[in-house]
């Protein structure tokens, strides 16, 4: 592991960008599928940061957390996609802007 070291800060900056793009996606996209994708991006940003930090401290913990996050993301998306199917069936659209029956 003595090869080229990418500075931690750089990775974190990348991760922050990913995180921000994820957030932006959440705010801008209407389609639920894209929202789920943005969510994935955000989770992955966190995961990436963990990996980089783990590398900095030369610990395996970072990677373990990465794995955990990955599985969490998978679980979220699994449930999410199930919901997507239902949404499509019920609302006949995936546009989340139409899903505002509850308000006030």
């Amino acid at each position: 592991m003595n090869g080229l070291q990418i500075p931690l800060e750089h990775v974190l900056i990348i991760a922050s960008f990913m995180f921000s793009f994820g957030l932006l996606g959440l705010m801008l996209r209407r389609n639920i599928i894209f929202m789920l994708m943005s969510l994935e991006v955000m989770l992955n940003a966190a995961a990436l940061a963990f990996v980089a930090a783990g590398a900095k401290w030369a610990q395996a913990d970072g990677q373990i957390i990465f794995l955990l996050i990955l599985s969490v993301a998978a679980a979220e998306v699994a449930v999410g996609l199930g919901l997507v199917l239902q949404i499509q069936r019920r609302f006949k659209t995936l546009d989340m802007d139409t899903a505002k029956r509850m308000r006030g």
């Binding site: 957030l23 959440l26 705010m27 801008l28 996209r29 209407r30 989340m96 802007d97 505002k100 029956r101």
Partner: protein
């Protein structure tokens, strides 16, 4: 049955009767009601007579405490009586005249459906009035004072189904309450300064503590004077009395002529030594008396309602009493109080008989020629008027004359007071004989439908007698008040005072009977009309008070009706509702907006955290 141990019986009889009548609420047979109502007063009068005899014989001042009313710290007024000559005089007047009026009422109120209620109130009144004059301390006096006020309210508004009566009753109560409030303040001041409300203790303490002319006794007496002015219908709180004539006529005779309205005179006389410490107040008493007697006399001239004339004459006569008190002639004041009680009760009862026999007619210009048709009433009225006008050898003459002389004897202002009093006497004679001439002479306009029975005639006769001989009574007041002498008596002054009523009589004769003189030319002129309506309205005092007090109060009440304070709280509620609506709008249900709001929150948090760097 005499002596201090039996004093409690005097107010007890009327009180018991009143309670019985109230509790049975008109369920008793009429005979028993009448028996209770008049009989209790008779018993009471009997007790007073016994006590008076005892007192005159022994000259001993009676004092008794029934029980301690309340005792807190050094404040311990009792339900206690103090009987001296002054009290005896007052008690005798109250029960004596009271009994006659009750007797008269038996017939007068005979056809009224609320017979029982009437006697209940009347008896209660007598009881309260007795307490007032028997009280040994100011608090018990105040109890009687307010008690008679309430009874007056009840009796003025006795025929409650006419709203006008109710209005008059409320006016009577509230206007006197203004005075009462001042009096209450006076009580607070006296207690705070002297540590007692016991009248004799208080007077002694005042004498030793203050010098004549000190500020505090001046304020205290001024406040007491406020109470007296209210109760005795003197300027500026006199406006209630004419309206109070809305009550049954015997009520007017008892309460608004003979007894209650003179309570103010009693109050001042009772505290004369305190008033002597406050010469300013005492002089004010004289001036108030003078102003009142003149204004009321002028007003009486212009009235047409028989009872209103008498009412204004009462105000005027009490003005004389105040004048007497103000110039320091306390005995003369009390003496006039007594004779006035006789002849004014007589006049009212006679007027009541006229009204009773004349289909409840009040307007004197619709009467006339009753001299022959109601002879007893005529003679009563004539004697009463003569006494009122202070014609020589009537009781009024014997009581009014000393007042005028005392006024004359007053240094500096004496002559003004005397002249004013004299003018008043002239006017008194004019309006009293105007009444006699218009009602009993001339042609008949309304015919009487009945004649007074013995229950009405007997009191009239007895009061006639009293009105004549009352002047020769010697009141046991020597030990109560300091001896008073006018110095040498100026004979010309005396002659003028004797002649004035006669001149008045002549004028009245000229104007209202003989038709030799006519002032119709004057009364038809604009100035005359204005003057007449000015006098008729009682110098526009009512309008003035309406403008000054009543209207502002009503307007204020209407303005505040919906609770200005509550707008503050409602404002808070509205603010909350508004915030709720605004915040609820943010809950749009849109997922993207929710995400955006979270991002906003996040950014703000980050910014706040980073602020710590700077």
């Amino acid at each position: 049955m005499a002596g201090s141990n039996y004093l409690w019986l005097i107010p007890f009889f009327p009180l018991l009767s009143a309670t019985l009548l109230m509790v049975t609420a008109g369920q008793l047979p009429k005979k028993i009601i009448g028996f209770l109502g008049a009989g209790s007063i008779a018993l009471s009068a009997l007790c007073v007579a016994l006590q008076a005899q005892h007192f005159l014989a022994s000259g001993e001042i009676m004092q008794v405490t029934l029980w301690t009313w309340m005792s807190v710290a050094n404040f311990a007024p009792g339900i206690a009586f103090y009987i001296d000559g002054l009290s005896i005089v007052m008690m005798s007047v109250i029960t004596g005249v009271g009994f006659l009026i009750h007797l008269y009422s038996l017939e007068f109120m005979d056809d009224d459906s609320s017979y029982s209620r009437y006697f209940a109130y009347m008896n209660l009144f007598v009881a309260a009035m007795l307490l007032l004059v028997m009280a040994d301390n100011l608090l018990l006096l105040y109890l009687g004072w307010e008690g008679v006020g309430v009874c007056s309210y009840l009796l003025v508004g006795f025929w409650y189904r006419d709203p006008a009566n109710g209005k008059a009753a409320r006016k009577a109560f509230v206007v006197t309450r203004v005075g009462d409030a001042a009096m209450a303040l006076g009580l607070f001041l006296l207690f705070t300064e002297l540590g007692s409300l016991d009248i004799q203790t208080l007077l002694l303490a005042a004498d030793s503590k203050w010098q004549s002319g000190d500020l505090i006794p001046t304020i205290a007496t001024a406040l007491l004077l406020g109470g007296a002015v209210g109760k005795s219908a003197q300027l500026p709180l006199h406006t209630w009395l004419p309206d109070a004539m809305a009550g049954p006529t015997p009520v007017s005779a008892l309460i608004h002529a003979a007894t209650m309205v003179t309570a103010g005179v009693y109050l001042i006389a009772r505290h004369y030594s305190l008033f002597l410490l406050a010469p300013i107040t005492l002089e004010a008493v004289a001036w108030i008396g003078l102003a009142t007697l003149l204004i009321a006399a002028f007003t009486a001239l212009a009235q047409q309602d028989i009872k209103r004339i008498l009412a204004y004459s009462t105000i005027s006569q009490i003005g004389y009493m105040f004048l007497a008190l103000g110039v320091g002639a306390f005995s003369a004041g009390i003496f006039h109080l007594m004779t006035h009680a006789f002849f004014k009760a007589l006049l009212f009862l006679a007027a009541g008989a006229v009204i009773h026999c004349l289909h409840h007619e009040h307007n004197i210009f619709k009467m006339g020629g009753l001299r022959t048709r109601l002879p007893i009433v005529f003679w009563s009225f004539l004697i009463g008027s003569a006494a009122l006008a202070a014609l020589p050898f009537t009781s009024g003459f014997y009581s009014k004359d000393p007042i005028l002389l005392s006024a004359w004897a007053m240094p500096n202002i004496g002559s003004y007071l005397w002249a004013g009093g004299l003018l008043g006497a002239l006017l008194t004679a004019i309006y009293s004989f105007r009444l006699v001439f218009v009602v009993f002479f001339g042609e008949a306009k309304t015919l009487p439908n009945k004649q007074p029975g013995w229950k009405m005639s007997l009191p009239l006769a007895l009061l006639c007698l009293l009105s004549i001989i009352g002047g020769w009574f010697v009141l046991p007041l020597d030990h109560v008040f300091p001896a008073y002498s006018h110095g040498e008596i100026n004979h010309s002054v005396e002659i003028i005072s004797i002649a004035t009523p006669l001149i008045g009589l002549a004028i009245a004769y000229g104007l209202f009977l003989g038709k030799q003189l006519s002032i119709s030319g004057f009364t038809q002129s604009t100035l005359g009309k204005a003057l007449q309506s000015f006098c008729f309205s009682g110098w526009r005092f009512d309008a003035l008070y309406q403008l000054l007090w009543v209207c502002p109060y009503q307007v204020l009440a209407q303005l505040w009706r919906n609770e200005p304070i509550d707008y503050l709280y409602r404002g808070i509620v509205s603010l909350m509702q508004w915030s709720n609506e605004q915040l609820s709008k943010l809950q749009s249900g849109e997922l993207r907006w929710y995400a955006t709001s979270m991002v906003f929150g996040l950014v703000i948090l980050v910014l706040i955290m980073l602020r710590s760097l700077s």
